[in-house]
Amino acid sequence: MHVVGYGAAIVLSIAGVVMLTLQMGKLEAAATEGQDELAGMERQAEAIVLPTDEERARWSTDQNLMASMLLADAEIPALLQDVTRLATLNQLGRFELATEEFVIADGAELSPDQALMQSVGILRHITVTVGFSADYRNVAEFVRDVGNLPRLVEFVSVQLTRQPSTISVTMSFRVYQSETAA
């Protein structure tokens, strides 16, 4: 009976030693993992370059500038009026104009351009397509004037086709809009 008890004590002791060793190994592994994590965080912290006040001021200015250049829904008629005025100013013939609105839908698959647009907080734009006839000089000046409008204007395409005695132009450009719908 005593031998059985002693045998049981041996077995239990060995089991206890194994269990304690395994448990200790787990604790040590956890401690090592924690140390590694801390070391990694310390390296990250050392590598941090916090933005300077000048940078923050510049970013704020840029943001405000961009916000001021975004087109509100209520300003669309004025924009079209401006484009028409520039067409008249540059003596464009047979001037035609069409607009199309684009909105980034939730969950929609985005092109790289659209992803960039979304990353800066812009979800909408209108695409203005104009067609007209003019000579090279007027075409050039019209393109330049449209680009100088106080809006976020991005040219998509310009196509000049030679016609007898003049040039037929089809041009489209995007004007980015502020987020709030009218």
Partner: protein
């Protein structure tokens, strides 16, 4: 429950039983005293079984102190011997110490203690030799019961074991135990757990007057004391303790004290008993405790293997546990020691690791705001960069007027531009499609010059043919009004598409 055992003082006339459990204090569960003198011998076993059942005894193992006078106790002092030698010596000594008139005996011995005499290590061994009928009688009787008989020993040995457990010894002090058993009185001289002398005195209560019995017993006690002093002149009897069941005990306590000058008392061990599990009235039981002394003594052992056993073949080992048991014990202790060390290491290690983990956690918590601030700064910087990149795409830097004017300056007379397409995207480009028409050979030279001039314009980073040149030929028919001097030639048409990458943004 498992370690309950029945301690029995057995004689044909009386059976005294205690049901006990081993512990620092002997746990008493139950007891019974069966007086068989008025019961027919053939029905005594039924009486025992009936008592066991009615009184609710649960123990199945029984150890018996047999009450008989054909017993010889001898204390031997021997140098250390091997197990084989010891058994041989004991067999020889048992033959020599057989009780008078007894030819067939059972014997067993117990190593009581080690001592040193004149610098020589010796062991005191108690050898008990008993007539076989004492053992067989018990075996036969209990063989018919529901009990499992594990041991048969003597009342003297049982009393010695009892006194060892009570244990209030001073060095070299001798105590005398006088126990009144059934039909005999046992006189023991005990020194520090060793039985120096034991006399089993038969007495008959039937044919002798009580006064005569008393005188006879006094004489026997005096003879025993004298015999002891003759054989152990160094032994000083400190106290004489009386136990058992007899009306004479009270008178004898005072008589012995006055006549022998020895301190006398009653053997008491109530305080060594644990009454917590006792069934019945403890105060009533206390009255019987002195008479149950041998029953307690025979049962007060950690296991029934301990101590003397006169049953042939059931004698326990005398040389301690075998080597493998010792090895197992040592291994168990070693394993537990290692476990203890690992436990200590684990406790201290886990404390250190926990403290370390707490430090790490605190550091991580302290770093998190810094990292969050850094991440927010990086995100702001990234957003600002993206915004700048986006804004940069907006303003057109192309001087269209100059670009188109430059183109007009290098166009050969034979060339016609059909379309000029401005393509925006990752690379902004001007795609010009058209053709040159003229005399064979002339158009190729014109296009080559035009292409070279185009490449030399500063507005473009590169100029390439986006489609292969297509050269066709056609005959020029003479007009109807052509005169004779008209010289018809073969006209050539070179169709081209060139792609000019713009230096500036759209």
């Amino acid at each position: 429950m498992a370690n309950r055992v029945l301690g029995i003082e057995f004689s044909p006339e009386s059976i005294k039983l205690v049901e006990v459990g081993y512990g620092r204090r002997l746990k008493v569960y139950n007891f019974a005293i069966i007086d068989n003198r008025a019961i027919d011998p053939g029905r005594r076993l039924d009486q025992l079984n009936h008592t066991l059942q009615v009184r609710g005894f649960e123990a199945k193992e029984a150890v018996v102190a047999s009450n008989g006078v054909q017993v010889e106790h001898r204390l031997l002092t021997l140098p250390p011997l091997s197990g084989r030698e010891l058994r041989f010596v004991m067999q020889r000594e048992a033959k020599k110490s057989a009780p008078a008139g007894v030819t067939e005996t059972f014997s067993d011995f117990e190593i009581l203690r080690a001592k040193e005499e004149l610098g020589i290590k010796k062991r005191q061994i108690l050898l008990v030799t008993a007539a076989t009928n004492i053992v067989t009688e018990a075996q036969e009787f209990f063989g018919g019961s529901n009990l499992k008989l594990q041991k048969v020993t003597t009342v003297g040995e049982a009393l010695l074991n009892l006194v060892k457990h009570i244990g209030y010894w001073k060095n070299d002090v001798v105590k005398t135990i006088v126990h009144f058993g059934v039909g005999s009185v046992h006189v023991l001289f005990i020194q520090e757990g060793a039985m120096l002398l034991c006399r089993d005195i038969p007495i008959s209560f039937k044919d002798v007057e009580p006064e005569q019995q008393f005188d006879r017993l006094m004489t026997e006690i005096k003879r025993s004391t004298l015999y002891f002093r003759q054989n152990f002149p160094q032994g000083q009897i400190d106290e004489m303790l009386f136990s058992g069941e007899s009306d004479m005990i009270g008178s004898m306590v005072s008589k012995v004290k006055s006549e022998l000058g020895i301190e006398t008392n009653v053997l008491r061990f109530d305080d060594n008993l644990d009454p917590s599990a006792f069934k019945g009235e403890w105060e009533e039981f206390r009255f019987h405790i002195p008479s149950l002394a041998p029953a307690f003594g025979v049962a007060w052992r950690a296991s029934t293997d301990e101590g003397l056993n006169l049953i042939p073949g059931k004698a326990g080992t005398k040389e301690g546990p075998p080597a493998y048991k010792k090895l197992v014990k040592i291994a168990a202790m070693l394993a537990m020691g290692i476990l203890l060390l690992f436990g200590i290491r684990y406790v201290t290690g886990s404390r250190q690791l926990t403290a370390q983990q707490l430090d790490i956690d605190a550091s991580i918590v302290a770093l998190e705001p810094v990292l969050s601030e850094g991440a927010a700064g990086d995100a702001d910087r990234s957003l600002a960069g993206t915004r700048a990149s986006f804004m940069g795409r907006m303003a057109s830097e192309v001087d269209w007027q100059e670009t188109l004017r430059s183109l007009s300056l290098i166009v050969p007379d034979t060339a016609v531009f059909e379309t000029i397409q401005i393509v925006s995207g990752d690379t902004n480009a001007l795609v010009v499609t058209g053709y040159l028409r003229g005399a064979q050979g002339q158009t190729n030279a014109d296009f080559s010059r035009f292409f070279d001039d185009l490449r030399s314009l500063e507005h473009f980073t590169s100029v390439e043919l986006s489609k292969p040149l297509n050269v066709t030929y056609e005959d020029v028919q003479a007009p109807e009004d052509a005169d004779s001097t008209f010289n018809p030639v073969i006209a050539s048409r070179v169709t081209f598409e060139v792609r000019c990458l713009l230096k500036s943004k759209l």
